[in-house]
């Protein structure tokens, strides 16, 4: 590791800023800043420490007062925490964003075609591009969706794709989230707070706005309404106040001006979905649902769910209500299927992927299984069905016993695991205590798909706030920071 750039090193705030092989979002190398970060750094260094702390406190208080919190599972019930927030914005240039936008549009288009295909003709399976068993063994595959027409053939109306940067600075896709991606409210509130506490900095950069997100989301949802419903009643279905993302559900519903409903607010009768109002029952046309497939209809899926609406799936099948996202989209963000996405893009669009995948080994392929078992100390192993940073083995940070345990698990159920090289993804400066220190970050832009694909310029930059940690999930010590996409 090298200490931070020479001309800045004597500045107290940077004395712990270390660079190594990982890409740094601020420094090209010792003594060398990315040009677009110069003003940002100058500004931060010029502010007295007290002032920085004061602004940080103002930001924290603002989050707490607004109730921008998430619930942590497995602890005392009702525990609310603020989502930790870092003051230093992460900057993405116009050129970089152009590539990201192009690549994500291509990816969602292809994945959407893939979903339509596997739930209908199944050409890609017949042509042997994706193995049938890969699809049919996925626990998110919903046979109930087979042969069903969805409005505009849009399965994925809202997608959050996790990107990371390699050492070269290239953005690659780490994971697609095609079921109920969350976090967009943090993207929006981070920006609001940032504008309030650093107006002078904000003004000097040409940052593209993101506040139109909720309006575009509403437009996308409206465009997916069932036919013959010109004034659709759109609602947001939330599991309720104990869900970790409840703040976000309430926030989005309020910003869009639509009702926030829970399962107990909805009833079905003759395949029509209604909500219970003080004025009797009112028909519902589009449901932006933030409840997982499994829990959404106790008749069609998990019978023990109390969050869902009995009969919802039949109403959906009858075409009387639209759900966004559709059921069964999880088959396309399966961690093992991920390895096939480049082929899926080529198959449907006859194009090369603009954004690459992280190299991925599938234990279902015998050769790769051998490789994985021999290199457990170097690889990251992920359980296909887990998310939120759980069920992972990070090879270089693991003990022999843990590696042994995973070796057995992988052999017992190869379909349930994937392995990837340990990537030291990029780091960005964060204000830790009194100093700027580099921390690993990823980027989750949000892609909206209604009558067309729209990506709001920005996203949620998640930060692994623990030194050296690669896990950015909020449940495991992650935080976030504002993400600035510059205009030309």
């Amino acid at each position: 590791m090298h200490p931070a750039p020479s001309s800045y090193v004597e500045r107290a705030a940077l004395k712990n800023y270390l660079l190594d092989h990982a890409y740094d979002e601020m420094f090209i190398g010792p003594g060398n800043l990315h040009p677009h970060c110069r003003e940002l750094l100058e500004h931060f260094i010029s502010l007295p420490l007290d002032e920085l702390k004061r602004r940080k406190q103002a930001a924290d208080l603002s989050f707490l007062n607004q109730g921008i919190t998430f619930a942590v599972y497995g602890r005392e019930e009702g525990t609310e925490k603020i989502f930790p927030y870092d003051l230093v914005p992460r900057i993405i240039t116009a050129d970089e964003w152009e590539t990201v936008e192009l690549g994500l549009t291509q990816r969602i288009t292809a994945l959407n075609l893939f979903l339509k295909d596997i739930y209908n003709e199944g050409r890609i399976l017949a042509d042997g591009i994706v193995p049938r068993e890969m699809v049919y063994t996925c626990k998110h595959y919903r046979r109930q969706m087979a042969g069903l027409q969805v409005p505009r053939n849009v399965y994925v109306a809202v997608c959050g794709t996790d990107l990371i940067r390699l050492q070269s600075g290239e953005f690659v896709v780490l994971e697609d989230n095609l079921r109920v991606p969350s976090g967009v409210s943090y993207m929006l509130t981070n920006r609001r707070v940032m504008k309030r506490i650093f107006p002078e900095l904000f003004r000097n950069y040409n940052v593209r706005p993101i506040e139109q997100y909720t309006q575009i989301l509403l437009g996308s949802l409206r465009s997916l309404a069932p036919e013959g419903r010109p004034e659709p009643n759109i609602v947001l279905l939330s599991p309720g106040v104990f869900n970790s993302a409840y703040f976000e559900h309430a926030y989005l519903a309020r910003q869009m001006g639509i009702e926030l409903v829970e399962g107990r607010d909805l009833v079905t009768h003759d395949n029509i979905v209604y909500m219970r109002t003080t004025n009797g029952l009112r028909r519902v046309d589009v449901i932006y649902r933030r409840v997982d497939d499994d829990f959404i209809d106790p008749l069609a899926f998990r019978g023990d769910s109390v969050l869902g609406v009995a009969g919802l799936f039949n109403a959906y099948r009858a075409g009387n209500v639209t759900l966004a996202n559709a059921f069964g989209t999880g088959v396309a963000d399966d961690k093992a299927l991920y390895a096939y996405v480049p082929d899926i893009i080529k198959y449907y669009l006859s194009e090369d992927p603009v954004l690459n995948n992280v190299e991925t080994y599938l234990p279902t392929r015998p050769k790769e299984l051998q490789y994985v078992l021999q290199n457990l100390d170097k690889l990251v192993v992920k359980a296909v069905g887990e998310s939120g940073g759980y069920g992972m083995l990070i090879g270089p940070q693991s003990t022999k016993a843990q590696q042994e345990e995973f070796a057995q698990k992988i052999q017992a159920d190869p379909r349930n695991y994937i392995a990837q090289p340990t990537i030291s993804f990029s780091r960005a400066p964060c204000l830790i205590g009194d100093e700027l220190e580099p921390r690993h970050v990823d980027l989750r832009p949000y892609i909206l798909f209604g009558d067309k694909v729209t990506i709001v310029p920005g996203g949620l930059t998640r930060v692994a706030l623990n030194r050296g940690s690669l896990v950015v999930n909020s449940s495991q010590g992650g935080g976030s920071k504002d993400t600035w996409v510059l205009s030309r």
Partner: protein, 328 residues
């Protein structure tokens, strides 16, 4: 409006009103206690407990500060101020997108003020019990916060259906609480004037007025001449004082009418009848008529009518069956 939302707004409002009432009652009694003998203190606190409907597991043990502490901070006790604030905030959280940001901020700050940091509260609670710090500052700050919340509610929220449900919750709670308060004073002070210590009569009746923030308003109408009959008339039948039972029931009736107008229910007949009958009985009664009959029975009948209104609201707007809704 979603039935669940109406339900949450109604209870948010009721719980806050309850917290305000308990807070004020404690504050008034702690203050008056300083002026009297230990013997009359016991009677006063028993009466206060009666006015709060004898919350479960709270008994008078001769220690005003520990009683205050239990009624303020004990979250095991569902009637404590803290429990009510937590419940109000929990209801607000469930309809976070229905209330204004200002409302949420005000209520959430109150919640954070009374629940966090835990250490501060514990210390405060201990000091309470020992009588070291005056609980009055704390109680005052709760009252202020609740008043601010009401102001913000009136000035930042649409005065639509949701706001009307907030009114119904507040005034229905207020009407029952005031009836209970009058009942407690009647059963004790009115029926047994001989037990009042020499020279303490004035203080006791003033306590009743102040428990309903009515002292100044009363004086404007009847001057500082405190007579039990006038006090009853004022708290029961005054048309213009916002804490009187009549004012509260009028407000409930008005809000219900607006709600019926908005939702155009013809099935609302039963509800209209209930609230109209209570309203008429308060509008056209004279205090002499009331005092010549079984007063406690009369006050209890007001409370049971309030409960009936509550139940009918639920049957009509919240808990209806799908069959009735589809048929209607």
């Amino acid at each position: 409006m979603l039935s669940r939302v109406a339900d949450s707004l109604y209870w948010m409002s009721r719980y806050l009103e309850r917290a305000e009432h308990t807070t004020r009652l404690l504050d008034v009694n702690l203050n008056l206690m300083l002026d009297e003998t230990p013997a009359s203190a016991e009677r006063r606190w028993q009466r206060a407990l009666q006015a709060l409907n004898r919350p479960k597991d709270t008994e008078w043990t001769g220690e005003p500060y520990s009683l205050t502490q239990a009624l303020t901070f004990d979250t095991e006790n569902k009637a404590s101020i803290l429990s009510c604030i937590i419940a109000a905030r929990e209801n607000a959280r469930q309809v976070r997108e229905q209330i204004s940001t200002e409302q949420w901020h005000r209520l959430n700050s109150l919640y954070l003020q009374v629940t966090r940091p835990e250490l501060q509260i514990e210390r405060q609670a201990e000091d309470f019990a020992k009588g070291i710090s005056s609980p009055s500052d704390f109680l005052q700050s709760v009252l202020e916060a609740v008043h601010q919340f009401q102001g913000v509610t009136d000035s930042t929220m649409n005065h639509g259906e949701g706001w009307q449900f907030i009114q119904v919750g507040r005034y229905l709670e207020r009407a029952s609480a005031t009836a209970l308060l009058l009942e407690a004073y009647h059963a004790d002070l009115w029926e047994h004037p001989e037990l009042i210590g020499e020279g303490y009569e004035y203080i006791d009746w003033m306590g009743l007025l102040r428990s309903a923030t009515a002292f100044e308003a009363y004086c404007k109408v009847y001057t500082a001449d405190l007579t039990p009959k006038h006090i009853f008339e004022f708290l029961l039948l005054n048309e213009e004082f916002p804490h009187s039972i009549r004012f509260s029931i009028d407000s409930v009736g008005n809000a219900l009418e607006k709600i019926q107008g908005d939702s155009g229910k013809s099935r609302a007949m039963a509800l209209q009848r209930l609230s109209g009958r209570l309203k008429a009985s308060l509008s056209y009664s004279s205090v002499d008529e009331v005092l010549n009959q079984d007063v406690v029975g009369y006050l209890e009948s007001i409370q049971s009518q309030c409960r009936a209104i509550h139940t009918t609201i639920y049957e009509l707007y919240v808990d209806y069956s799908i069959q009735t809704a589809l048929a209607g």
